[in-house]
């Protein structure tokens, strides 16, 4: 991989806090490619947050170099550097005495943007994070719910369109249902903006769901494994990682893998496709296009197999559950409207689940 394709490069970065002999982060080499989401995960005190904060030099490394988009930023002015890097923290950290629009505009204002341009940008970003500008721009943070504040926090970090975003457990203090929604929206936003994102979490599920790669940190600030989510789950690099990922990782992986990330088998709804020889199952649909029963299944008696469905937003675990429950060896995956998007076979579980690249 050439130098320019790596957005963040950490070279032998180490952090030893004053008054302590053991490093908080031990000689770390890490490369984050442009446009990827890297999840930093590990137990408390493993150095994941310290690592994140060394990227924008909120914490100065004791030794080593930090290279951002090909430029060595180890010794540049920290405040100026941080204006070029988005930063989101757990409680949102919005300024309570600034209106929502002013909160979003803080970095553009420091960069000397024109007032009108700042206002337009705030409206644009409120739209992006799903808050109606006319309703929210003049409100104050305390008038917003935790989830809404966190969205504004993300909008503020995006304001000056920085290539890199650092997120320190941004959804950590949010209730599980809202968190799930925010995660989905976050991926949606990332599809539009394509930032290079460094994301600290302590939630393995979140790491697998959001991450293109996962960096597992071990106690003592050691980077134990840096791989894509599947590899971390199925091939832990050492005992620490396999302990961290937990027992029964193969089964756990099922509940961590979302169906939307899988390469599914095609499904037909057209009567003309009945009897096809390429192995594509054909479903009978109702007036709204929702599958109700199987017309044709390759190598099987269609009438003897119940048609069961699972939503695309579910996990492989949900699909297995539905198949066991309905004594079916295949399941139709449907979208929010109930339209069939593909099929998952029981055999796929054993043969190995194919994940697809996330759309960019």
């Amino acid at each position: 991989m050439s130098e320019t394709e790596n957005m963040i490069v950490l070279e032998a970065v180490e952090k030893v806090y004053p008054g302590s002999t053991a490093p908080a982060v031990e000689r770390l080499d890490m490369t984050i490619p442009k446009g990827e989401i890297v999840m930093l995960i590990g137990p408390s005190g493993c150095g994941k947050t310290t690592t994140l904060k060394m990227v924008n030099r909120l914490i100065e490394p004791t030794s080593g170099r930090i290279i951002l988009d090909g430029e060595d930023v180890t010794d540049v002015n920290g405040d100026l550097l941080r204006r070029k890097i988005g930063y989101v923290i757990q409680q949102g950290g919005l300024f309570p005495h600034f209106s929502i629009a002013d909160n979003i505009g803080v970095v553009p204002k420091m960069l000397g943007w024109d007032k009108n341009k700042i206002r337009e940008r705030a409206d644009e970003l409120l739209h992006l994070v799903g808050l109606e500008p006319s309703t929210y721009r003049d409100r104050y943070p305390r008038q917003l719910s935790g989830g809404q504040q966190q969205r504004v926090g993300v909008a503020r970090a995006l304001a000056a369109d920085p290539p890199v975003m650092l997120m320190d457990e941004p959804f950590g203090a949010i209730d599980p249902i809202t968190r799930d929604r925010l995660q989905d929206e976050f991926l949606e936003i990332q599809r539009t903006v394509g930032k290079t994102i460094c994301f600290v979490t302590h939630d393995l599920q979140e790491a697998v769901k959001l991450g293109d790669r996962i960096a597992v940190f071990a106690t003592g600030g050691r980077l134990a494994q840096y791989d894509d989510p599947d590899t971390v789950l199925t091939h832990p690099a050492d005992d620490f990682v396999s302990d961290f990922v937990g027992g029964g990782a193969a089964v756990r992986r099922l509940s961590l893998l979302e169906l939307s990330r899988l390469e599914l088998h095609p499904v037909e709804t057209d009567v003309a496709a009945v009897g096809n020889q390429n192995g594509t199952p054909v479903a009978e649909v109702d007036g709204a296009g929702r599958p109700v029963s199987w017309r044709h299944l390759p190598d099987r008696d269609a009438a003897g197999t119940a048609l069961v469905t699972v939503p695309l937003s579910g996990t492989v675990y949900d699909a297995v559950d539905v198949m066991l429950d309905g004594s079916a060896s295949l399941v139709a995956v449907v979208d929010d409207e109930g339209l069939p998007q593909g099929v998952l076979h029981w055999n796929d579980l054993v043969a190995g689940l194919k994940t697809r690249e996330r759309e960019r």
């Binding site: 909120l58 405040d79 941080r82 070029k84 923290i89 949102g92 919005l94």
Partner: protein, 228 residues
């Protein structure tokens, strides 16, 4: 002579003394607040950053030291402190202003420090993360957020100062003390009681005046997002 008669006959003098009293308190509180807020800001710039141990130690030292000294001063009886300054600054307005200003320091300093340190850590951290430098953070984030607490300190110190200012008349300071002290020293004489009563009531009038001013200032200067 009854109270109303006395007031009617001396109204010009009484009103002048009342205005003088209010001005005297205003100047001392203003000077004292500027000094206290300046000290408070200087010692609160410590970064929440473990790299900067030395600066934090220095700032903490000054902060605790100045709080200790101003608190100690507050326990000295005001009568004594006015007299103790006589050999240095002599009789008159200078001594009165210096001593009353000293009394205003503690409350404002204490509230400034408390207000600045009570600002939510996550707010300061995100400010730093977005590229706010130390001074910008202090002036545009910490100070406005601490302002309600600081303003309250100024208000309390103003009320305390109104009564301490009375004592200043023993060093020939300005204000209602002249009226009150004359009355007190001549208690039993014909005009003594009206003088004491009117002096007291006028102190209350000054206090009410400042309360109204503070309510307006509060309304105008506390940012909308943090108004209670």
């Amino acid at each position: 002579m009854n109270v109303f008669q006395y007031f009617a006959e001396n109204s010009t003098q009484i009103i002048n003394l009342t205005i003088q009293h209010a001005q005297f308190v205003f100047y001392c509180v203003a000077i004292g607040s500027i000094i206290s807020i300046a000290i408070g800001l200087l010692v609160s710039t410590g970064e929440p950053n473990p790299n900067r141990f030395s600066f934090d130690w220095w700032a903490t030292g000054i902060r605790e030291g100045s709080l200790l000294i101003t608190a100690a001063v507050l326990t000295i009886p005001s009568l004594a402190l006015f007299v103790l300054f006589l050999p240095i600054t002599g009789l008159g307005v200078t001594t009165a202003i210096i001593v009353l200003t000293i009394y205003t320091l503690y409350t404002v300093l204490r509230n400034t420090v408390a207000g600045l340190t009570a600002v939510d850590r996550s707010v300061l951290e995100s400010a730093r993360g977005l590229g706010y430098g130390r001074v910008r953070r202090l002036l545009t984030i910490q100070l406005p957020l601490a302002w309600p607490v600081i303003l309250n300190g100024i208000r309390v110190t103003t009320l305390i100062s109104i009564s301490i200012a009375v004592v200043a008349s023993i060093v020939q300071g300005p204000g209602l003390g002249k009226l009150l002290l004359t009355g007190i020293t001549r208690i039993g004489a014909s005009n003594a009681f009206p003088q004491v009563l009117i002096g007291t009531v006028m102190c209350l009038v000054v206090a009410a005046f400042f309360e109204i001013i503070f309510a307006i200032v509060q309304r105008l200067t506390i940012p909308r997002g943090i108004r209670v």
